[in-house]
Amino acid sequence: MTVTEVALATSIPPSLALGASPEGARRAVWAASCLASWPGGGWRVLSLNPEAELPLLPALPAGVVAAPAGPGVAEAYGRPGAWIAEALAGAVATGAEVVGLVNADIRLDLDPAARAAIAARAREGMLAFNRMELAHPAQQDGAFYRYGYDLVLMPRAMAARLDLAGFAFGVPWWDYWILLDALTQGLPASVVWCPGVRHLAHAQAWRMGAWRRGLALIAARLPGRRDALAALGAGPVALALADLLAALGGDAPEGIGLAEIIERAGTRFGLEIVRLAERDAWSLDGP
């Protein structure tokens, strides 16, 4: 079996961030199992963390390394973290043929054959994985969550063409934009269901401010992608939403009703991105 080197980037939360409650303990156990599941079969992981977090990280297994993240995430989003673009650049710098991003609470139950199949396909184009949602860690089967992409892999050369400035781990929209960015540049991108990409369900830490700021990053890029969006056959509703979001800017403009309009338009535009991406959808038997 030919091993394709894969370098994933993430931002592992420090153990203390998970809290001391029973739910925190449950998530800490899950986080540790995620961490242990990532490396293997030529896959390695780089975690970017703010300097202050580095001493608080759990013990890292072989194949997972942590490095200091650049500043600015806390100032932009109100909590410390790492920039997506910087993390992906770190993965590219490893020289691996395939690079990618993984959310830190994703467990990869992938055997060597599955890893090889995924890596081989990711050499040809972007793969964005929906997660299988689990109620408890031992659950074998679950429903895939279609409105998010928690593991994204791509050929190294593609990563250099993406414009991910301003997006951060743990903030909504980066996963939608990375797909839309690729699709509107004519780069191959697929959505994948693989039962080995698993997530333990938890309450959503919903923060509307971060949601709007993430949407604003997309809105600012839409005027330059409108023609490409039309060429993809996105349809009049998607194009009208793109125009609306581009005009309003996404992030809390002054004016009666605009916040509600942006929330509605952003939600619907997100669904349009999911639909566009699912035109090229695949399943991979697993693990």
């Binding site: 060597p112 429903a143 409105y147 369900a201 991979l284």
Partner: protein, 323 residues
């Protein structure tokens, strides 16, 4: 040695977007879940282009916290498909597969969803509407192989309609008590809100006594009355009950017994949230009730094959035998 996993192209019908077909209400989005209710009719149709040849599908159906799995049959191009249904959190996954022979030579595949449980719910700002189940998405993919297609789709629909119209039996809500008596296991199922035909029933009590998995005694009747049917499963697996009601009444009792696994499953869903179950005991009674239901369905099949009067409207209300 590990085998190479297979990539399969997948076609997704997101119910939040326009659908080709009929029998669906307008899309709704609540939080991170979106769906369309089926309705107002029992049969809802989706047409979509899918890969040729054998395939498999997964329907994601949104559920409330204690909502039972909806009784949905799925047909592909008029042929019924075997369904594996399971609940995972607030979603029901209905999975089915087919071989190449299940497909018609048509540009689009036609999926039928037949729902036996319809109810009236308020429509946002527009009075009431009749609904069945909430479909979030249908995902279809090619498969290397699949089970052979079912046949006689029209007969199945006609039969289901007949059973619903002439031989409806609802077990209602079950309350369960598990006991032991020496080496025997006893299960008492108290059924509140049961119906036999059009007739609401008083609280019913089904007492089951199992000495082993092959032997079961059954006593069924009103919880507060003396009139009861007594019997059980014969060693060969057949259902024996006495005194025998008239053919229509016997058929209704068989239908009720065949529905007990559903009442048991509903009880499990409601009672076991957060509890630590005695899995062996629960599995024992699950198997026992499944066997009883199978025997009841066999008895019903005999009744249907022999008694023309079952196809007509019943001439009188269901009555338990005099005690």
């Amino acid at each position: 040695m590990t085998t190479a996993p297979a990539w399969r192209r997948r076609v997704v019908q997101d119910m939040l977007f326009p659908v080709a077909g009929s029998g669906w209400h307008a899309p709704e989005l609540h939080g991170v879940q979106g769906w369309r209710w089926s309705g107002p009719g029992r049969l809802s149709i989706l047409r979509l282009s899918i890969p040729p040849g054998p395939g498999r599908a997964e329907a994601q159906i949104v559920l409330d916290a204690h909502e039972a799995l909806p009784p949905v049959a799925i047909f592909l191009d008029g042929r019924p498909l075997d369904i594996a249904a399971r609940r995972v959190g607030d979603v029901a996954l209905l999975r089915c597969g087919w071989d190449g022979g299940a497909r018609r030579a048509a540009p689009q595949a036609e999926f039928w969803f037949l729902c036996d449980r319809m109810r009236d719910l308020p429509a946002p700002g527009r009075g009431m509407r009749r609904v069945g189940f909430r479909l979030s998405c249908l995902s279809v993919e090619a498969a290397a192989d699949g089970p052979p297609p079912g046949e006689h789709g029209l007969a199945l629909i006609a039969g289901r309609r007949l059973l619903a119209a002439r031989l409806a039996a609802e077990p209602g809500q079950a309350r369960l008590a598990f006991r032991t008596e020496g080496a025997a296991r006893l299960l008492e199922m108290r059924l509140e809100g049961a119906r036999l035909g059009a007739d609401p029933q008083p609280a019913l009590l089904a007492r089951l006594r199992a000495g082993s998995e092959d032997e079961m005694r059954l006593s069924l009747g009103p919880a507060d009355g003396a009139s009861r049917l007594e019997g059980g499963l014969a060693p060969a697996g057949g259902l024996v009950l006495s005194p025998l009601p008239d053919p229509h009444g016997a058929a209704l009792v068989a239908r009720l017994l065949a529905a007990l696994p559903r009442a048991y499953a509903n009880w499990l869903d409601a009672a076991l949230a957060g509890a630590a179950p005695d899995a062996d005991l629960l599995a024992f009674w699950k198997r026992a009730l499944d066997r009883l239901a199978l025997a009841a369905e066999a008895a019903l099949a005999v009744h249907l094959a022999e008694n023309d009067e079952l196809f007509a409207a019943p001439s009188r209300a269901f009555a338990w035998p005099a005690g």
